[in-house]
Symmetry: C2
Subunit: 101 residues, 2 copies
DNA sequence: TCATGTCATAACGGCATCGTGATACTACAG
DNA sequence: CTGTAGTATCACGATGCCGTTATGACATGA
């Protein structure tokens, strides 16, 4: 319901997905995510905070750096599943278009 | 990326999820969805249109009624997967809270 | 202590989307 | 043809979120 919709909302912004993608191969500190995504530092911090509140990533300060890490890698399975559905519906829409020509 | 985020956005509104849930047990016409969800007719029409553009539901006029139907029932698997992740992260956050007491 | 690099936050403007109320459109019954 | 039920759309106000700029807070090294 409400909470579930909020959870989906976490993945409903391109830049947030990009931040998440940057963390796919392991923990990174904020600056590394900034470099990897090309987003502004302030924006990356905001998105990381949101991802943390949602429980998707975990925060670990180390000296003057702060590392973020994906808590449960099965979020990537969720993303993959959504990608699959998206492509399937794209294909169906294309077929519908083709059938109407 | 962009398109994937938009796809997630489809599921990021409580009322849209409610409309989808109303269609879980089979096709319904608009009024039936309105009755089942308690939402206004205009709102239900809007959400159904969005769901159709996203390729999640299919529209089938029948006389003066218009039936909507979930195209690929595996969207419910996506939703279930998200629910699972949501509950897991809730549990972890609770454990972190408990550990800090 | 001071300078620097790293990260977080506040304030702001801009834009998208939500929900409502009113209205148009369509099919069908009378 | 007229009325009515079902559905779609428009215009609107309100709210929320995004991204930026600027600044604050913190740890480290000189």
């Amino acid at each position: 319901m409400e909470a579930l919709a909020d959870y989906f909302k976490v993945f409903s912004e391109p830049n947030r997905l990009a931040v998440l993608e940057a963390l796919r191969d392991g923990p990174l500190n904020v600056t590394a995510v900034v470099d990897k995504t090309g987003l502004s530092q302030a924006l990356v911090s905001k998105h990381l905070k949101l991802l943390m509140i949602a429980g998707v990533v975990h925060r670990r300060p180390e000296g003057s750096l702060v590392f973020y890490e994906v808590v449960d890698r099965s979020v990537f399975r969720l993303i993959a599943q959504a990608e699959k559905l998206l492509m399937a519906s794209r294909r169906l829409q294309f077929e519908a278009l083709a059938a109407s020509l």
